[in-house]
């Protein structure tokens, strides 16, 4: 349903995103994970054309066969909110502080003529019910600052799903929320996606969060896709050294806290280089503990079964038989 090919996003002389291929079939929940500055939000926003004015986009993003790249704003806005819903990181800031929340939800319905004007109010309340907001009729008349963070995010979700979109883009939707609320929101998103057969592009820096909601994961580093595949494979047997590092730095689930206490927290050494300061070849070079000489040249994409693929010269060894030529490299790794 969504096919991204050779997507390049640059601002000025700096290339921010460079993606060879990424696709989201209908109903799939894809997690896009990466550190801040990895270009994950840019990638997600390029789908609906909501990038900074200065950004230059080349390549192709096809949504249901329609090319979205460099489409005029007026035409894109027919897709936004109707075919593609979006929720954002900071729910309080994402809502208009001077408009009642019900009206903000209803606006999406009116814009795309989803229901006749007379039915907007009733449908708004139904939507608020569906995102499990209590006392929805009264809540619709309140202003954003009168709601809790979790309630605000539910309002945004109601707004995003109002017109039954085929794809929901969720850009760090739980990052600003308490851990307990996070879990509820994730469950709600998973349920809505399953009920409606709605595909979700879930953007987060938190692999743990991604793991709990997505069936597939794409790992971004420095604007480049380093590994993608089914969630259990990515988490269970990652191949790319960056993915491996990301999994290692995750302190673990709350139930593991007792076990993790006293152990030092693992970090990835260094930080994401500033724009334009990446070394040639693999972008993780310089921070990677398993660097080999060939890393200075662009690593090839290695395809594995189950649509699992990665881009690494010296991948994490695996017991599964590998493509010819790769096993040798795997042995060299410490």
């Amino acid at each position: 349903m969504l096919e991204i090919e050779d997507l390049n996003i640059s601002i000025g002389a700096h290339q921010i995103v460079s993606l060879e291929h990424l696709s989201i079939p209908a109903g799939r929940r894809l997690g896009l994970v990466g550190e801040s500055g990895s270009g994950k939000t840019m990638t997600a926003m390029s789908i609906i054309g909501l990038l900074p004015r200065e950004a230059v986009v080349t390549g192709s993003i096809k949504f249901s066969g329609v090319e979205m790249v460099n489409r005029p704003e007026r035409e894109l806005s027919n897709f936004r909110g109707s075919e593609i819903g979006t929720i954002f990181q900071d729910p309080l800031r994402a809502l208009n502080p001077t408009m009642r929340v019900g009206k903000q939800v209803g606006e999406a319905l009116r814009l795309h003529n989803t229901v006749p004007n007379k039915g907007v109010k009733q449908r708004t309340v139904e939507l608020l019910d569906q995102v499990q907001l209590p006392d929805s009729a009264a809540l619709a008349r309140r202003y954003p600052h009168q709601l809790s963070g979790g309630q605000q995010q539910r309002v945004l979700i109601a707004m995003a799903i109002a017109c039954n979109p085929k794809l929901l883009i969720a850009d760090e939707p739980t990052t600003a929320l308490d851990v307990t609320v996070q879990k509820e929101i994730l469950e709600l998103l998973a349920r809505l996606s399953a009920e409606r057969g709605m595909a979700v592009l879930f953007v987060s820096h938190d692999l743990g969060v991604i793991q709990s909601i997505s069936d597939h994961v794409a790992v971004l580093y420095g604007g480049s896709l380093v590994e993608t595949g089914p969630t259990d494979q990515i988490v269970g047997s990652p191949r790319h050294r960056y993915t491996e590092a990301l999994i290692n730095v995750n302190p673990g689930h709350p139930e593991d806290i007792a076990a993790s206490l006293g152990k030092p927290l693992i970090t990835i050494k260094g930080s994401v280089p500033p724009l334009g300061a990446f070394l040639s070849g693999c972008r993780f070079r310089g921070r990677c503990p398993h660097e080999v000489d060939t890393c200075a040249t662009e690593p090839p994409i290695t395809e594995m079964p189950d649509a699992h693929s990665f881009k690494c010269w010296n991948p994490v060894p695996t017991t599964i038989s590998l493509a010819p030529g790769e096993a040798g490299l795997a042995k060299e790794s410490p």
Binding site: R80, F88, R93, P97, L111, Y143
Partner: protein
């Protein structure tokens, strides 16, 4: 909202009281005393003593203040020294004109500033934004009395569409009243809106960067429609703050404009009173003009509450943004 109103009223009362003391003391701090001011340096000692006695200037300051302010409450501000008219009555009949003039200019310029400022923020990066910039720069530079004279030459003398001066009360003949106020209001509103446009523009540019504008776009609004539907109300909150700061110069402008268009308002009375060294009239007129500013200020405080539900909930405290 109730708390917002209560807060605005109490602030109005406190400011009015403090202001009245300042107005009263300022006149006592003049060189010589009020009697000398009225009669001039050449007056004889007997004449000065007689006037001091008549005006109660020998009494302690507190007593004098009390005499004056209690008179104001009773509607008695004394009589003019030279012209022998009742000051309170004279002020009372002139208040509606000056207030209408100031209020209409205020509302008009705020509306124009909102529309033009939003337009220029949306088109900040193309030639339309630049044009608004140039025009507002000119508008700020043009003094309102000169603008008034230009308009008289064009609309009254050349085209004969509007009267060159004079005033017909709106309650007497609405159409003629509006005609007589059109040019004075324009002369006041154009420079004021030129100032306000710049604030709306920069405020709107900030609002357009807000996340909720992006949400509106993600919902399916174009940036332009998102600015009109979601931006205006949010951008008008800082506009209220700036407008409050402009109230003083607005009233000062009204005084000048009334003289340009020979409107029988407080401004004309003030100029005549100052020219005639009518200390009592000046004192009470200043008080009334100050009360007028405070009233407009009060209305703006209420506007905050109407515009922003967060201010309503916090009982009227305006966040310093």
């Amino acid at each position: 909202m109730f708390r917002v109103v209560v807060r605005a009223i109490s602030s109005l009362l406190v400011s009015a009281f403090m202001g009245s003391i300042v107005v009263f003391l300022l006149l006592r701090m003049l060189k010589g005393d009020v009697a000398t001011v009225i009669l001039g340096q050449t007056a004889t000692r007997e004449a000065l003593d007689a006037l001091r006695d008549e005006m109660g200037l020998d009494a302690p300051l507190v007593q004098q203040y009390w005499n004056w302010i209690s008179g104001v409450f009773r509607g008695d501000m004394g009589t003019s020294y030279a012209a022998e008219f009742d000051i309170a009555h004279e002020i009372w009949v002139r208040v509606p004109l000056t207030f209408t003039l100031a209020f209409a200019s205020l509302i008009l310029s705020a509306l124009v500033a909102l529309l033009v400022g939003t337009f220029s923020a949306i088109h900040a990066k193309d030639w339309r934004g630049t044009w608004v910039d140039i025009l507002s720069q000119i508008g700020i530079a043009v003094p309102s009395f000169w603008l008034g004279l230009l308009m008289v030459t064009l609309f009254a003398v050349r085209l004969g569409w509007l009267p060159a001066g004079g005033y017909v009360p709106l309650t007497e003949n609405f159409i003629d009243g509006v005609k007589s106020l059109t040019m004075p209001v324009m002369a006041l509103a154009i420079p004021l809106s030129a100032v306000l446009v710049r604030y709306v523009r920069s405020g709107m540019l900030e609002v357009l960067d807000e996340d909720f504008i992006r949400t509106a776009q993600a919902k399916g609004l174009t940036l332009r429609r998102a600015a009109w539907r979601h931006g205006i109300r949010n951008a008008s909150i800082p506009l209220v703050t700036v407008t409050i700061l402009q109230l003083g110069s607005l009233l000062a402008g009204a005084v000048v404009i009334e003289n340009v268009f020979t409107l029988p308002g407080l401004g004309r009375m003030l100029v005549v009173a100052v020219g005639g060294r009518e200390a009592l009239s000046v004192q009470s007129l200043t008080l009334v003009l100050m009360l007028m500013i405070l009233t407009l200020n009060f209305l703006m405080d209420i506007a905050y509450g109407l515009l922003d539900p967060r201010i309503r909930d916090s009982g009227g405290s305006v966040p310093i943004a």
